[in-house]
C-alpha cells in the first residue's frame, strides 16, 4: 500500500487534497448560510438564527438534516434526465471551479511530494476558471426548462439571458489585470503584485501604471449579476416568479442549487482577491519595523477567542456557557500556535487570503441587505449600456498606459 502511494504520489496527493478541500468547502458553505442570515438579520434589526445551539451555530446542521429527511416529489411531466442533471451540473461545476484557486504561497508535504496549497496549478488557470463558470448557465437554464412549469421556465430564461449578457463585461473587466501581469496563471498574477510603492502595496487595484479601479467595479458588479445574487436576483424574484428556476425542486436537489450559489460566491470573492487585491500578499512590508505585523494573525485569533469566552460566560443557556468558552479556548490556542516560529511564516498567506475573501463575502451580504432589486429592463440597460462600454474603455486605457510607460 505504502509502495503504491510513493509510486503514484501525484495521484495520491491530489486525491487527499481534493477530499480535504471538499470537506472544508462544504463546511464553509454551510456556515456561509449561517453568516448571511446573521448579517442580514443585524441589518434588519433582528437576531437571526438563535435557537439551534448557542448563537444558532448548529442551524446549518439542522438545515442539512431537514434537506435530507424531506420528501422528494417529482412533478408530473418533467423531463426526468434533464431535471436530475441540472442540480448536479450546477453543483459540480461550482465546486470544480474552487479547485483552481491557490490559497497560499507555502507548500505542504504529502507522500514525499511537495505540493502547493490548492488542488491544481494551471498556467492558464484564469481561462479555465472562466471556462468552467461559463458552463454554470446550464444548471439554471435546464432546471427552468425541465421543470415543465411556467414560473421556472420564465426564471430560467431570464437568468440565462442575464448571465450571457454579464459574462461579456466580466471577462472584459479582467483583461486589464491580464495585461499588467502578462500571464493567465493565478499564482503569477499574485506574484506580479508584490512589492511596495512608498508603503502602499502594489496591488492591481491601486498600482501604476494603470490602477484597475474601473476594472474592479465592472468585475464586481458583473460577478454579482453572474451569481444571480441580489440586487440582480431576477431569476428568483419571489414576488413575480415564486422561486424562479428552482420552484419545482425540493429537498437535496434544492440544496444543491443553494450550495452551488454559495460556492460561486466564494469563487467570485477569491478571484476578486487574487486579481485586484494581491491575493495572499500582506498589506504590510515584512522587513524592518513592519516585521511585527507578522503577529497580526495570532493577535486577531487571540482577541476573537477572548471575546468568545467573555460572551460565552454571560450566555443565557448552560449549554452555551460550556460550548462558547470552549470554542474561544480553541481559537486562542490556534492563535498561540500561529505565533510559534514554525507556523508564523506559513500562516501569513492563507490568513490574508481568507481575510480578504471574507471581506468580499461580507460585501455580498451587505449589498443584499441594503439594495432593492433592479427591474429587468434596468438590468439589461446597465449590463449593455454601462458595464460593457466602461470595461472596454478600461481595456483601452490600460493598454495605452502600459504602452506609454513601458519603453
Amino acid at each position: 500500500m505504502s509502495e503504491f502511494l510513493t509510486q503514484h504520489s501525484l495521484l495520491a496527493s491530489s486525491v487527499v487534497k481534493t477530499v480535504i478541500m471538499l470537506l472544508l468547502v462544504l463546511t464553509a458553505l454551510a456556515y456561509l448560510t449561517w453568516f448571511e442570515r446573521k448579517v442580514v438579520a443585524r441589518i434588519q434589526s433582528r437576531w437571526g438564527p438563535y435557537r439551534v445551539g448557542p448563537h444558532g451555530l448548529l442551524q446549518p446542521l439542522a438545515d442539512g438534516i431537514k434537506f435530507m429527511m424531506k420528501e422528494d416529489p417529482m412533478p408530473a411531466g418533467v423531463d426526468k434526465f434533464v431535471y436530475l442533471l441540472a442540480p448536479l451540473l450546477a453543483m459540480t461545476l461550482a465546486l470544480t471551479a474552487l479547485g483552481l484557486i491557490p490559497f497560499g504561497p507555502g507548500t505542504i508535504k504529502l507522500f514525499g511530494r511537495t505540493t502547493a496549497l490548492g488542488i491544481s496549478d494551471l498556467n492558464l488557470g484564469l481561462l479555465f476558471l472562466f471556462a468552467i463558470t461559463s458552463l454554470g448557465v446550464y444548471g439554471v437554464a435546464l432546471a427552468g426548462w425541465a421543470s415543465n412549469s411556467k414560473y421556472p421556465l420564465l426564471g430560467g430564461l431570464r437568468s440565462s439571458a442575464q448571465m450571457v449578457s454579464y459574462e461579456l463585461s466580466l471577462t472584459l473587466s479582467v483583461v486589464g489585470v491580464l495585461l499588467m501581469a502578462g500571464s493567465f496563471s493565478l499564482r503569477e498574477i499574485i506574484q506580479s503584485q508584490s512589492g511596495w510603492w512608498h508603503h502602499i502595496p502594489r496591488w492591481n487595484l491601486i498600482a501604476g501604471p494603470a490602477p484597475q479601479i474601473l476594472g474592479f467595479f465592472c468585475y464586481f458588479i458583473a460577478a454579482v449579476a453572474e451569481t444571480n445574487r441580489a440586487p440582480f436576483d431576477l431569476a428568483e424574484a419571489e414576488q413575480e416568479l415564486v422561486g424562479g428556476f428552482h420552484t419545482e425542486y425540493s429537498s437535496m436537489k434544492f440544496a444543491m442549487f443553494f450550495l452551488a450559489e454559495y460556492a460561486n460566491m466564494i469563487t467570485v470573492s477569491c478571484l476578486a482577491t487574487i486579481l485586484f487585491f494581491g491575493g495572499w500578499l500582506s498589506p504590510f512590508p515584512v522587513s524592518g519595523a513592519w516585521s511585527a505585523t507578522q503577529y497580526i494573525p495570532a493577535v486577531v485569533f487571540i482577541i476573537c477567542g477572548a471575546m468568545l469566552i467573555w460572551d460565552g460566560l454571560r450566555y443565557t443557556t448552560p449549554w452555551g456557557k460550556i460550548v462558547l468558552p470552549f470554542l474561544g479556548l480553541v481559537l486562542g490556542g490556534v492563535g498561540a500556535l500561529t505565533a510559534m516560529p514554525f507556523a508564523i511564516g506559513f500562516i501569513q498567506g492563507p490568513f490574508w487570503f481568507l481575510t480578504k475573501v471574507l471581506f468580499f463575502l461580507f460585501v455580498y451580504v451587505w449589498v443584499r441587505g441594503t439594495l432593492p432589486r433592479l427591474r429587468y429592463d434596468q438590468l439589461m440597460g446597465i449590463g449593455w449600456k454601462v458595464l460593457l462600454p466602461v470595461s472596454l474603455a478600461n481595456v483601452v486605457l490600460t493598454s495605452l498606459a502600459l504602452v506609454v510607460t513601458r519603453r
Binding site: 423531463d79 434526465f81 434533464v82 442533471l85 494551471l122 498556467n123 492558464l124 481561462l127 479555465f128 472562466f130 471556462a131 468552467i132 461559463s134 458552463l135 448557465v137 446550464y138 437554464a141 435546464l142 427552468g144 426548462w145 421556465l153 430560467g156 430564461l157 440565462s160 439571458a161 448571465m163 450571457v164 459574462e167 493567465f184
Partner: protein
C-alpha cells in the same frame, strides 16, 4: 495513459454525435452537442493546445450553445416528427455515408500514420497571440468586421418597422 484518455474522449465525442442525431427532442440534441464540444476540448488538451481547449469550452460550450438552448426554450419547440427513413435517405444518403466511411478508413489505415506531427511550444498562448495580432492581423480584423456585419443584419431584421406596433 494518454492513449487511454484519447480513446475515452474519442468514444464520448462519437457517442455524443450519434446521440445528437438520434435524440427526438431538440434540447437533448443540443445537450449531446455540448458533450461533443467538451470532449473535443479534452482532446485539444491532450494535444497540448491548452489555450484552444479553454477557448473551445468558453466560446462553443459556454456561449454559442447557451444561445441555442435559449432559442429552443423561447420557441418551446416540441419533439420532432420521424420520417421513418425517407426514400432520399435510403437511395442517396446511405451509399454516400458508406463511401465516406470507407474513404476515411482507407486514409487512416494507409496515410494517417505517416502524417508528420506538428510540434507545439511549451505554452502555446504567446506564439498564438503573436501570429494572430502581427502576422495575420489583417485577416483577423476582416473576420471581426464580417461578424459585425452579421450582428447588424440580425438587428435590422429583428427591428420593428416604424408605425407597425
Amino acid at each position: 495513459m494518454t492513449t487511454l484518455l484519447f480513446f475515452a474522449l474519442a468514444a464520448i465525442a462519437v457517442a455524443g454525435a450519434v446521440s445528437l442525431i438520434l435524440q427526438k427532442h431538440p434540447i437533448h440534441s443540443a445537450l449531446s452537442l455540448i458533450v461533443v464540444m467538451v470532449a473535443l476540448a479534452g482532446l485539444y488538451l491532450l494535444l497540448g493546445a491548452e489555450f484552444i481547449s479553454a477557448v473551445q469550452i468558453i466560446v462553443y460550450a459556454g456561449a454559442i450553445m447557451v444561445l441555442f438552448i435559449f432559442v429552443i426554450m423561447l420557441l418551446n419547440a416540441g419533439e420532432e416528427e420521424r420520417t421513418n427513413f425517407s426514400k432520399m435517405a435510403a437511395y442517396v444518403g446511405l451509399p454516400l455515408a458508406a463511401i465516406l466511411g470507407a474513404g476515411l478508413v482507407y486514409w487512416v489505415a494507409h496515410e494517417g500514420s505517416n502524417a508528420p506531427g506538428v510540434p507545439l511550444a511549451e505554452s502555446a498562448t504567446r506564439p498564438l497571440a503573436m501570429l494572430l495580432f502581427q502576422d495575420y492581423l489583417f485577416p483577423f480584423e476582416l473576420t471581426s468586421i464580417l461578424i459585425l456585419v452579421a450582428i447588424l443584419g440580425a438587428v435590422v431584421l429583428a427591428q420593428r418597422e416604424k408605425g407597425e406596433e
